[in-house]
């Protein structure tokens, strides 16, 4: 079951990904509660962040593929002085989560929410959660703690 967070309040003053032809499918996936990662159709490896060609074999034959959303915390930082509108939210957590999908490890960056920053730890299980931003007609991805 995908985790859906409460919708973000309006106005949303933090930066968001700029919709482009290249990320359109990924952003549409978030609205459908699917986390899509480019998968090489020639060698099978996942690639993150999205890049022009597969990092394992240089093929450009990549397709957005749904992943489980499950991950573990690879590293994190607690920001105490945040830029712009993030200033009002300190302290907040930015975490790199290593996706369960292998063999090429994918480290996905996102805010780790629904947790006391003091409780964040390397190795803790996390999963993708979806936060709709109705005023911007878009959805963001976050990390939340996962039971397990």
């Amino acid at each position: 079951m995908p985790v859906v967070l409460p919708s973000a309040a309006s106005p949303y003053l933090k930066p968001l990904p700029q919709p482009t032809a290249r990320n359109e499918e990924f952003l549409a996936g978030l609205a459908e509660r699917r986390f899509l990662v480019p998968q090489c159709q020639d060698c099978g490896d996942f690639n993150w962040p999205p890049y022009p060609a597969c990092r394992s074999c240089l093929s450009e034959n990549l397709r957005w593929t749904e992943v489980s959303g499950e991950a573990t915390v690879f590293s994190f930082t607690v920001v105490h002085r945040g830029p712009g509108a993030f200033g009002a939210e300190v302290p907040y957590v930015i975490a790199l989560g290593e996706l369960a999908e292998q063999p090429r490890p994918c480290l996905v960056l996102a805010n780790l929410v629904a947790i006391d920053p003091d409780d964040a730890a390397i190795g803790m299980p996390i999963e993708i959660a979806y936060e709709d931003i109705p005023s911007e007609n878009t959805t963001m991805w976050r990390w939340v703690p996962r039971a397990g």
Partner: protein
């Protein structure tokens, strides 16, 4: 009489479609060309360690383009980086192969009329990630990315905040011996003062990081003939090497460059080229965009083992009077951080080897090393080994 040199050979060639107007991106043409030349030679992309991108513009400026390719080729350091024409590019690539800087070099070009496609919405650096806006959409920035790496480093090797603070204390002490250092006049530091300076991006405190200031510099490199005719003691470049890797954020089989990557690649090649052992180095300049970088860089340069940097510092090796005084002017942390500050580390080592450093002089310093990084810790690394006779 034909040459007996047989050190480097051309093993693969490929041309893409050539047409008046190609409706394909430069990036795609370059990828196809590199991929296909490798295929013709029967060699895998993972062997590429040298690049001559005759047009780096799809990927940004010269160093950015190298960061893109280092990541695209599987997050591996590229140890030969060059620009120029194809013929000159091959000439220099052959010289680099002969010199042992690299083993397989791609020389490649593209031009296209297609105004769209990459580079506008791709990025040369995964840290920028124009596709998805990371890290800014998560309230991140380069310092936050460095903090992520620092926490992983501390986790893997049981390094404490006190260990990091010790680096800041030691370098501030050295800066106080350099009259024109920017931070020296602010007085000595203690570990407690560093920890009390406030967290910027946990685990990095304010005093774990350099400030930013203005300043410039120049370095002249000359032939032996001109050096003999100069007013200064020559400081000889015994060997040097460069290696470019992807940004911190890139994921790969060696997920973070804590034990390997561009710093180690450049240091190993430089010391090999110089014919100098680590134990012969009298003074060192070490990239210090954070206190953690200093400890990890000393490990990656081979002065101590992986994860041993904190103990090495605790034992006093990096301090004045130790076996490997580092950043004797206070470094970026306490002397100056003027933008491309590796030149300052280099100039300080040169001055040490010329015996010009007064109160902070390392007595009898004869062999020095300098390690520089840029574009996001570990990303664009270089090492030089220097000697004054």
């Amino acid at each position: 009489m034909s040459s007996l040199h047989r050190h480097a050979a051309i093993i693969g060639v490929y041309t893409t479609e050539q047409a008046v107007c190609l409706l394909r991106s430069s990036a795609s043409l370059q990828l196809e060309a590199v991929r296909s030349a490798l295929a013709e030679a029967g060699q895998p992309a993972r062997l590429l360690d040298g690049l001559v991108p005759l047009d780096p513009s799809p990927w940004g400026t010269v160093p950015s383009g190298h960061m893109y390719w280092a990541e695209q080729l599987g997050e591996r350091p590229q140890t030969f980086l060059e620009l120029g024409s194809a013929v000159g590019g091959v000439a220099k690539a052959a010289a680099a192969v002969s010199a042992g800087l690299c083993r397989l070099v791609a020389v490649f070009w593209s031009r296209t009329s297609d105004p769209g496609g990459p580079p506008a919405d791709w990025t040369a650096s995964a840290t920028d990630d124009l596709i998805l806006g990371s890290p800014p959409v998560h309230g991140g920035d380069p310092l936050a990315m460095r903090a992520l790496w620092t926490r992983r480093y501390m986790h893997e090797f049981k390094v404490t905040s006190e260990d990091l603070a010790r680096v800041a204390v030691d370098q501030r002490h050295k800066a106080r011996l350099k009259p024109d250092s920017i931070m020296g006049r602010l007085g000595e530091l203690t570990v407690d003062a560093v920890l009390a300076s406030g967290l910027l991006r946990d685990p990095l405190h304010v005093l774990d990081c350099p400030g930013e200031n203005d300043g410039g510099y120049a370095i002249l490199v000359a032939s032996a003939e001109i050096a003999a005719d100069s007013k200064t003691t020559p400081v000889w470049v015994l060997g040097g090497a460069e290696a470019s890797g992807p940004s911190l954020y890139a994921a790969g089989p060696d997920r973070v460059p804590l034990t390997d990557g561009p710093v180690r690649a450049s240091a190993d090649r430089a010391f090999l080229a110089a014919g100098v052992g680590r134990d012969e180095v009298d003074v060192v300049g070490v990239w210090d965009d954070s206190t953690a970088t200093v400890l990890n860089t000393v490990e990656l340069m081979g002065f101590c083992g992986p994860g041993e940097g904190a103990q090495y510092c605790r034992d006093g090796h990096l301090s004045l009077g130790g076996s490997l005084p580092a950043n004797t002017d206070g470094g970026m942390l306490s002397n100056s951080n003027c933008g491309e500050s590796s030149g300052l580390h280099l100039i300080e080592v040169v001055r040490q080897l010329r015996d010009e450093c007064g109160a902070r002089q390392v007595p009898g310093a004869r062999i020095g090393a300098v390690q520089a990084q840029g574009y996001g810790t570990h990303t664009h690394a270089a090492t030089l080994v220097l000697a004054a006779d």
